[in-house]
Amino acid sequence: MATQKNAADTVYEDIPADQQSPGLHSALGDGQADPYATTDADREEGARVFNASGGDWGDLVDEATALHEERIVVNMGPQHPSTHGVLRLILELDGETVTEARAGIGYLHTGIEKNMEFRNWVQGVTFCTRMDYLTPMFQEATYCLGIERLLGIEDQIPERASIIRVLMMELTRINSHLVCLGTGGMELGATTVMTVGFRERERILRIFEAVTGLRMNNAYIRPGGVAQDLPHGCLDLVSSTVGELRKGLRELELLLNENPILKGRTVNVGYLDLAGCMALGITGPMLRSTGLPHDLRKSQPYCGYETYDFEVVTRTNADAYDRIRIRLDEMYQSLRIVEQCVERLKKVNGPVMIEDKKIAWPAQLSVGSDGQGNSLDHIREIMGTSMESLIHHFKLVTEGFRVPAGQAYVAVESPKGELGCHVVSDGGTRPYRAHFRDPSFNNLQAVAALSEGGQVADVIVAVASIDPVMGGVDR
């Protein structure tokens, strides 16, 4: 590496003992000295010297001294209310103008991908659903589609399971967009946008709770299908919710679309044209705001999206305002898909899990007097009648199924862009490697391009228009 050759160029002396951090001065507090301060041992001959080198630190220091100007570098975050979680923005300011912007991430890294390598294939779903916590269904779907491709069972997924997957994904898309607009509005000072957005989101979470038992982190989509069928009366709930959501979205539109303050804050702010999007690998609403109708649901359909009637929303101004409008319009398109799903689910009955008993878990869950668990009929069978069933149940749930060696990459169109999953199997019962290409992770690279040269206040708008969720970015 080139940086290693210059290792000896820059040597920073340790600070003298009398200039220790004032907050840890021995005269203060409990008298404990700074454990990281320079000690006498450090000054002896042969003591370890730490060289801060590499990168362009030397150039930076030279530049700063040569300019003799006051450079203000502001750390926005990682604990800043309007940076969507723990995003750290490093801004170099000249007055109110941002001259350089960099994003620092990693504050929410939880090692999900590594953890998945130590659980079996089915358990992996409960991990990946927690990555981007606003789009749990999408991680589950792309992961399960990857496993299904590795297993070679893509065409054996029951139709009803695919429809339910589409239904849940589209509801999740509305959910994610509502949070994006709601928090985005709050960051601009529009509290009502936030309350309306979260009020409408609550309706969707109610459906999720009815179907999966959980509002978020559902672990509902499983390899081979979905965990369980829709509960009784669920389709009526979805139908009535669609009507309510239409009303709520209309309210949001009236609040936002022609709002002079919103337009003043967002029009021509956070501009990134098609060439910029292509170079940075940007997908999702940001790419569609440049006029390119790229949507994986249309171009590389999965789960039967080619049979649904919907449109890809595009606009051409490539600014933050267009991205808001695209998200609003996409929610209406999602509602159209949801209605088509409801119609189909009324007609299509049958299993929601693959036939293959070596993959599908043997028991459907049911609600008993002591809470949710395996259905009583199944317990009766494995405990009373068939020992082989018991063994099979035990092996499948604890050990899991084997997936033939190989690799697959499956991408789905998440609300934020292309969400891909690269799954590698070594033929065992656990993922050898599961890597998620999270759209927020990729799209956050555009922060510099979106906000440099603009005002500090516009940085917030630009970041909000990317809609990053740090759970997905850091994984």
């Binding site: 590496m1 990168g55 991430i105 990693g106 890294h109 090692g111 991908e113 590594k114 953890n115 390598e117 130590f118 659980r119 079996n120 358990q123 491709r149 590795l150 070679g152 292509m278 170079a279 940075l280 690998g281 940007i282 997908t283 390119l292 790229h294 171009s299 590389q300 604890t398 050990e399 899991g400 033939p404 060696a405 190989g406 690799q407 697959a408 990459y409 991408a411 292309e418 891909g420 690269h422 590698v424 070594d426 033929g427 065992g428 019962t429 656990r430 050898y432 490697r433 890597h435 290409r437 992770f441 990729n442 956050l444 690279q445 850091d474 994984r475």
Partner: protein
């Protein structure tokens, strides 16, 4: 998911068979019932699968004494090998165009053969195994040739195969062509002793953070990357966590007298 190995293994420890299992070998001539994978691969017409490791035993714990009696079983881990022409789908056209582009570019007429080590078609996906020194030229050809036009690199993913001697670290690039609505995967390998791979940031600026993540997690040095620093782990973190020899860590959980060991010490099935 957890059993209670602490008490059980304490009881059974004296009875454990002391015989050491045979050393692992890549010679697949002496395999037992084994070669379900090999048989399946042969049946599928894949005559040259690539062995990347070996699995020991059939089920039961991989650590500690073998109580199953299947500990001597050795199964090769076989990945799909090179495909034979015709590849099907758009793969023939794609590789043909790439061959023309590469060979017309350089002086040598066999530039394609030198650059592309293996063409693998598996599960409807095309994988090009690229020699690492040829990666920049291949990447540039894939992006710029009008008939290829892979304008997006949707990500870089590392994979660690500690038992594949000389090719331990893999960097896997997933490319997307919006123009032609196609995908292709590039796979580049590097030995652990010299973990360097040329960077593709010049070709696809969007690969910047993805390469940083792969450096962070696997320790692959992407030469020519403008600022290859850690991105998810703290700057002073030791080691590269996604490597297979890096432990998961974790602490045992106690509940009502029982102890649940951390995930990487629980019974695992292989």
């Amino acid at each position: 998911m957890s059993d209670k190995p602490t008490e059980k293994s304490a009881e059974k420890a004296p009875e454990e068979p002391k015989a050491t299992p045979p050393e692992p070998t890549v010679d697949s001539g002496n395999l037992h019932a084994t070669d379900l994978d090999l048989a399946a691969a042969n049946a599928a017409g894949d005559t040259s699968p690539v062995q990347i490791g070996e699995r020991r035993g059939m089920f039961g714990p991989t650590k500690g004494g073998d109580t199953t009696g299947y500990g001597g079983l050795r199964t090769p881990i076989l990945f799909p090998g090179a495909a034979e022409k015709p590849y099907g789908s758009y793969f023939d056209e794609l590789t043909g165009t790439l061959e023309t582009a590469l060979n017309s570019d350089g002086t040598a007429s066999s530039a394609f053969d030198a650059a592309i080590e293996r063409v693998v078609v598996d599960r409807g996906e095309l994988t090009l195994h690229v020699a690492r020194e040829a990666l920049p030229t291949v990447a540039r050809a894939l992006r710029d040739d009008p008939a290829l036009r892979f304008e997006m690199c949707t990500g870089v993913s590392g994979v660690h195969f500690p038992n594949e001697a000389g090719r331990e670290l893999h960097a896997v690039y997933h490319l997307l062509s919006i123009t032609h609505n196609r995908r292709v995967r590039l796979e580049v390998s590097a030995p652990e002793s010299d973990p360097t791979i040329p960077s593709v940031v010049e070709t696809w600026p969007g690969a910047d953070w993805h390469e940083r993540e792969t450096w962070d997690m696997f320790g692959i040095v992407f030469e020519g990357h403008p600022a290859l620093t850690r991105i998810l782990m703290p700057d002073d973190w030791p080691g590269h966590p996604q490597r297979k020899d890096y432990p998961l860590g974790g602490i045992p959980v106690e509940y009502k007298g029982g102890v649940v060991p951390p995930p990487d010490e629980r019974r695992s099935y292989n």
